[in-house]
Every structure is written in C-alpha cells, then in structure tokens.
C-alpha cells in the first residue's frame, strides 16, 4: 500500500481537467486521508467459496479498478468484507469505508447503502462523487454475485 501514497495527487480524473488554467488546490478531507493511509479490510476472500460474493467494477473515466468481497453467514449477515482498489485516494477511501459499513449488516440492509452516504461521510467534492458511486456499484455487484451463487446452489 505504501507506494499508493505517492499516487495521491496523481489521480487526474478526467472531469478535473475540463477547467484549464486553474491551479488545483483542492485537498483531501481528513476522513479520506485517514482511510487512504490506514485502509481497512484490504485483501481478498476465497472467490470460489459459495458464501463469498465478489464485485469487480471499474471506471473508464478514471482508470480505477475496484474489487469488493463479502462473506455472508447462514443467517444472511455479512460477517466479513475485503477490498482491493487501484485508483485515487477517494476511490480507495470509498471502498475502505464501504467494507467497514457493510460488515455486520444483513444482505438486504447492505443493498440500501447509498453512494451519497459514503460521499457525505468522506466530504467528497463533486468531481469525486463518481468514486463513491463506484463503491456502491461494487457492493451491489458483490451482493448480486452472492445471490446468484446461493440460487444456483439451491438448484443443485
């Protein structure tokens, strides 16, 4: 993760260079930096485990990729969550926060998680909203992957 710190200023998300001649002075909010420097739940879960749902999403406008995985127990509660993100500080912070928030929630509760909540918690500026959107999509993709796995398991 250490080398990612060097990248914090490099996320030239495509939105931000539509304003030429403006020196970018926007700095990250303390919450973003906290999640960025001490990301929670980085890692992977066993993709083949039927209790694990994997969401893999990307942002073509940013070149960010995000993998978010959840482990669900038999009661439908999310007991573990891991993520791995290659992208800017906001994308890393969004996915880190997302894993923290889904832990302990049921699958249905997790579905209700909105990108606006993530953006609010991290005080993301408008040009970075899509980073939180990516995290929401990653959760949705992981939940849907889990559902599909469970349904195909029942059929067998």
């Amino acid at each position: 993760m250490a080398f990612l710190v060097n990248n914090i200023r490099r996320c030239v998300c495509l939105k931000s260079f539509s304003t030429p001649n403006l020196v970018q002075t926007t700095s990250y909010h303390a919450n973003v930096i906290d999640h960025y420097e001490n990301p929670r739940n980085v890692g992977s879960l066993d993709k083949k485990d039927k209790n694990v749902g994997t969401g893999l999403v990307g942002a073509p406008a940013c070149g960010d990729v995000m993998k978010l995985q959840i482990r669900v127990d038999d009661q439908g509660k999310i007991i573990d969550a891991k993520f791995k993100t290659f992208g800017c500080g906001s994308a890393i912070a969004s996915s880190s926060l997302a894993t923290e928030w889904v832990k302990g929630k049921t699958v249905d509760e997790a579905l209700k998680l909105k990108n606006t909540d993530i953006a609010k918690e991290l005080s993301l500026p408008p040009v970075k909203l899509h980073c939180s959107m990516l995290a929401e999509d990653a959760i949705k993709a992981a939940l849907s992957d889990y559902r599909i796995k469970q349904q195909s398991g029942e059929k067998k």
Binding site: N7, L14, P60, A61, D64, K67, M133
Partner: protein
C-alpha cells in the same frame, strides 16, 4: 441540416473570419495583419490569444491524433520564448497580464496535446463527446486489469518491473494506433471505448513509473 442553416453557418464562419482578420491591436488600435500574429506590427504589443481557437491552433500544429510530438515540443518552446511573463517585466501591466494568460494557456494546450490519452479526450470533446462516467462491468477485461495492477504491485526485482514497463508501453502504443484509426474512420463510439481502455493502461503506467522511482532504478 437544412439549406438555410448551412448557409447561415457558412455566413457565421465567414464573418468570424473577417472579425479575426480585422482584429485591431488593443494598444495602438491599428489592424493586426494576421490573426496568428503574436505581436502588433505597428506598436509591437503582445496580442490576446484569438478567441475560440482550439489547442491545436494555439500551438500551431495540424489537428490530428497522430501529431508529431517533437514538432509540438518545438512549437511549445518557441511560443514560450516569446510569451513567457519574464519577458514582459518592463512592459505595461496589460501586456504582463496578457502574457500570463497566454503563457498558461500554451502550457495547458501543450500538456493536453502531448499525452496520447488527454489528446484523445480533448479531440473527443471538440466533437462534443466525452467518456461516460458509468461503471464498467466487463468481468473478463476488469480481471485482466486487476491482475496487471497486482503484478506491478508485487514486482520486486528491477527486471520484473522493467519487463512489465516494456509490455505496458507496447500495449499503450498499440491502443494509440487503434485510437488513431478510429478517429480517422470517424467512429466515435470506438474512440470512446478505446480511450476508456487506454485510461486503465495509463493508470497502470503511472503505477509502474512510481514503482521505478521508488526502487531507485536508473535508466
């Protein structure tokens, strides 16, 4: 498009052309001979950049995705030789202001056109299009990108990282060629798709370069 609007467009273009041609110097009021002239022919005052000129025009290079990067760099240095605010320290304030504005515009234009990715996106925007912000879900492709990122992250030795660097550069180059062809064919959907892919590989490139720096590899 109707004949009328075609005519109107043509008319507008022409009148715009005339305006530029007849642009008069803000300082002495005399006509500036050519719209592309940086300085007034009579009083030698620095002129404002022509309104509505795109980055290609500002830099004085041909508007094409396959622009010659050496030529662009040459033009850039040449322009800054005349425009840099340092050259205007003893001139009147208005000229200093124009120089600051013009010089930073040239910087921005140069930076944008130099990189194949930003150049492509800029050209796309000139055509009123943009890379959508929607989320990518092509699993196979994303897996590939994720794995490549992980390979870079886990590369330990100089050879590993340099091999990845070479491979990635080749990938970018091949994408660049495809983008160029898509622009040539006028297939904007394809351009959008390809630039999206190029963005992922450019991000990987940034990771590789950061890793090369942090490992202290000297080339």
């Amino acid at each position: 498009m109707s004949v009328r609007s075609l005519f109107l467009n043509q008319f507008r273009k022409q009148s715009l052309f005339r305006q530029i041609r007849l642009a008069s110097c803000w300082s002495c009021g005399k006509d500036v001979q050519a719209s592309s002239a940086l300085f007034c022919g009579s009083c030698n005052a620095l002129q404002q950049p022509a309104k509505g000129d795109n980055y290609f025009k500002i830099m004085g290079v041909m508007e094409s995705y396959d622009l010659d990067e050496t030529e662009l760099a040459k033009k850039y240095k040449e322009l800054q030789k005349y425009l840099h605010p340092d050259k205007f320290a003893n001139r009147q304030q208005k000229e200093q202001e124009i120089s600051e504005k013009y010089s930073s515009l040239v910087n921005e234009a140069y930076k944008t056109l130099l990189e194949p990715l930003t150049r492509g996106i800029y050209m796309l925007r000139l055509r009123g299009k943009d890379i959508p912000e929607k989320t990518e879900v092509d699993q196979e492709f994303l897996m590939k990108i994720m794995e490549k990122n992980e390979e870079v992250e886990n590369a330990e030795t100089e050879k590993e990282i340099m091999d990845l660097n070479e491979e990635n550069k080749a990938q970018i180059k091949s994408l660049q060629k495809q983008v160029s062809k898509a622009f040539f064919d006028g297939d904007m959907q394809k351009v959008i798709k390809l630039l999206g892919v190029l963005k992922y590989y450019t991000s990987i490139d940034a990771q590789i370069q950061a890793s090369i720096r942090s490992k202290g590899i000297i080339r």
